[in-house]
């Protein structure tokens, strides 16, 4: 009996596992990067100097997470692409962020609603991933989860303030919530990558995550006197590279310098 067919199968299996892990880490990194870029669009425009700094701090945390995650994804990919190549030299269909992250800032209330929905998701996700079988990923998220706890404190605080604030602020965040809610189904819709990572004990079960996310969301909405929109089951496919038209415009600005002057440094 020859050993080589089994060895080849093992190699194949290892390659498939590595590719799936690469995709998985890339998705996490892309979501942080795109959300961080969106937040940084507020710099110089926030309603208060203090909020300007606050949003910039959040953006920096997220871009820091993206650097670690994209760097790891690049290593797993093994094609010599580093974090910068992945961030600045890919086109929109190659980005695998959650569709919610790329939605435009709108007014301050809308930015807060988007942030809060994703903070709740990242908080549950990172807490679960801290126990991942992949130790490198576990180490990255263990740092990120501390940052995310603060992000959640910031965004949930503002959500309650605006929701339970004036008539106008309540109206605005409720409208933003109603508009952004359709992107939340994707947060917990597993595809084959999620399933294979869960089977390998690298990623948590999205179904369990969804119920914890949902109770946190309901509790905050009650404090903010906001109504939970009706479930909209159609999941967007941002993590598979199918995006709304907004991502391309955002990348146009984000990648402008590297695309115009390839390899520019300063």
């Amino acid at each position: 009996m020859s050993a080589s067919p089994t060895a080849a199968t093992d190699d194949d299996r290892e390659r498939t596992r590595r590719e799936a892990l690469c995709r998985y880490v890339l998705r996490l990194g892309d979501t942080s990067l795109v959300l961080g870029q969106r937040l940084s669009e507020w710099i110089g425009h926030a309603p208060e100097l203090e909020e300007d700094l606050g949003l910039a701090n959040l953006a920096l945390d997220l871009i820091g997470q993206a650097r670690l995650l994209l760097g790891y994804a690049g290593e797993l990919e093994g094609q010599g692409r580093d974090e910068d190549a992945l961030a600045f030299l890919r086109d929109a269909p190659e980005f695998t962020n959650l569709t919610l992250a790329e939605q435009p800032n709108g007014d301050f209330g809308r930015t807060i609603v988007r942030q809060w929905l994703l903070d709740c998701w990242q908080l549950e996700m990172y807490q679960a991933l801290a126990g991942s079988a992949d130790t490198r990923l576990a180490a990255i998220v263990s740092k990120a989860v501390k940052e995310t706890r603060y992000h959640y404190r910031f965004s949930s605080g503002w959500l309650v303030r605006l929701g339970d604030g004036t008539e106008e602020s309540h109206r605005r965040v409720q409208v933003a919530l109603d508009e952004l809610w359709r992107f939340t189904a994707e947060l917990f819709a597993p595809d084959e990558i999620d399933e294979s990572m869960q089977a390998a004990a690298i990623a948590p079960s999205l179904t369990e995550l969804a119920s914890r996310w949902s109770s946190r969301i309901d509790a905050d909405l009650a404090s903010a006197t906001l109504a939970r929109p009706a479930a909209q089951p159609y999941p967007w496919q941002g993590k598979r590279g199918v995006h709304t038209e907004h991502l391309g415009h955002m990348l146009g600005e984000m990648q402008h310098l590297q695309r115009t002057y390839p390899g520019a440094r300063w």
Binding site: E48, E50, L53, G157
Partner: protein, 94 residues
């Protein structure tokens, strides 16, 4: 919005420091937001491990007009400084 938000004074205790030191002031809607703003504005470079905030309006200050009456009398009482006492050799860490 700043017109509606009260001013808070911010005090930070550094990693090595024993006391909170006044570092500046900022606007916030309430105490919770003031702590968050203070964290974002004044501890970005790991300056602190504890934050106090207090409404500026709640701080009672001495009147500069009364500075003479309050502080001048202490000026010529140099004997209040402990430099006139010789310290016995047995006493350490004074």
């Amino acid at each position: 919005m700043s017109d509606d938000w009260p001013l808070f004074e911010v005090f930070i205790r550094s990693r090595s420091g024993l006391e909170h030191k006044h570092v500046g002031s900022l606007h916030a809607a309430d105490a919770r937001m003031a702590i968050e703003h203070a964290r974002d504005v004044y501890t970005r470079r790991s300056e602190g491990i504890s934050i106090w905030v207090a409404r500026s309006a709640d701080i009672v200050a001495s009147d500069p007009e009364e500075a003479e009456a309050l502080f001048e009398p202490a000026r010529d009482k140099v004997y209040r400084h402990p430099t006139f006492y010789s310290i016995p050799e047995e006493v350490k860490n004074l």
